[in-house]
């Protein structure tokens, strides 16, 4: 069975997939902030990326630096096949949970 993903881990993995070959730390953070509609700390994103890499769900490589970064390299991320499997499992689980219910739900408030 694939790795069980938390919500923020899914957000990071999906951001990497959307960004494709432009998926480096700052771009991933901006993508997540846009999708979630709120500010996200760099520490949260980098801690999640490290955890995902330790689990084998993403891989990374160093790219070149730019003048605005004082020449410091960008680290680009790619989703590994195990990460794809985990995302598919997460989506299937949500689909199972919602089966039979129509979104958006209407409450009695």
């Amino acid at each position: 069975m694939a790795e069980v993903l938390g919500t923020f881990e899914q957000a990071v993995l999906l951001a990497i997939l959307r960004l494709a070959d432009k998926a480096y730390g700052r771009a991933i953070l901006q993508e997540i902030e846009t999708r979630l509609g709120r500010e996200v700390s760099a520490g949260a994103v980098h801690a999640t990326l490290e955890r995902l890499e330790n689990k084998g769900l993403v891989t990374s490589r160093l790219g070149s630096g730019t003048p605005i970064r004082a020449g410091r390299p960008r680290r680009y991320y790619q989703v590994a096949s195990e990460g794809i499997a985990a995302l598919n499992d997460a989506r299937a689980t949500v689909e199972d949970l919602w089966r039979g219910l129509r979104w958006p739900l209407k409450g009695n408030a």
Partner: protein, 196 residues
């Protein structure tokens, strides 16, 4: 006009990151600082933003140790209040050894990751400062639950309430020293492993 974040904040960030990721992570923060935060918010607020981001990394590196340290302190306090004694020596030896062990481990672990000799002291400061807040809050919760005459007498017998609330802040300086020793050991061990 300066267009880079405070150097001390970047130096603090280096203490809490693995060497192999420091360049890319600090580069990301620098890019965001120069590209969007500084133009939008100005120098002072951009610096505030950067320091907040760095403190986020510090918190992630120390919060577990701070929680453990505070839990040990609150547990010892609860024991003194609910199981009063006249002979505190054994309890003191156990709780002191536990606290020192947590601080040594925290400094060792984070310095092992960063490879920096200075990391331990920074970890000790952050851990004990955060733990002080948690410990004082924990003691307040204990007092809210237990404040019957018997417990109040036990509190007076163990050094009074004032000691329970103030002691966590007195532990900061020794915490810096002990975690500093742990950091020296951790950074040294990392270098030895690399050489081997």
């Amino acid at each position: 006009m300066r267009t880079s974040p405070p150097r001390w904040a970047e130096a603090l960030l280096r203490l809490f990151l693995k060497p192999e990721v420091f360049a890319s992570v600090s580069g990301d923060l620098l890019e965001q600082y120069r590209d969007s935060v500084h133009p939008a918010r100005g120098l002072l607020r951009a610096d505030q933003w950067y320091v907040t981001q760095v403190l986020g990394f510090v918190l992630r590196g120390t919060r577990l140790w701070a929680v453990l340290f505070a839990a040990a302190y609150v547990a010892r306090t609860a024991f003194d209040w609910l199981r009063p004694t006249t002979d505190f020596q054994t309890r003191s030896e156990v709780s002191t050894a536990l606290a020192a062990g947590i601080l040594l481990a925290s400094g060792f672990w984070v310095a092992w990751r960063s490879g920096s000799f200075a990391t331990g002291a920074a970890v000790g400061l952050a851990t004990t400062a955060i733990a002080a807040v948690l410990s004082i809050a924990g003691v307040a919760v204990l007092l809210a639950i237990w404040h019957d005459p018997q417990t109040m007498a036990a509190i007076r017998g163990s050094g009074d309430l004032e000691e329970s609330l103030v002691l966590p802040t007195f532990l900061i300086l020794p915490g810096v020293a002990i975690a500093g020793v742990g950091g020296l050991l951790g950074a040294t061990a990392r270098r030895l492993v690399r050489i081997a």
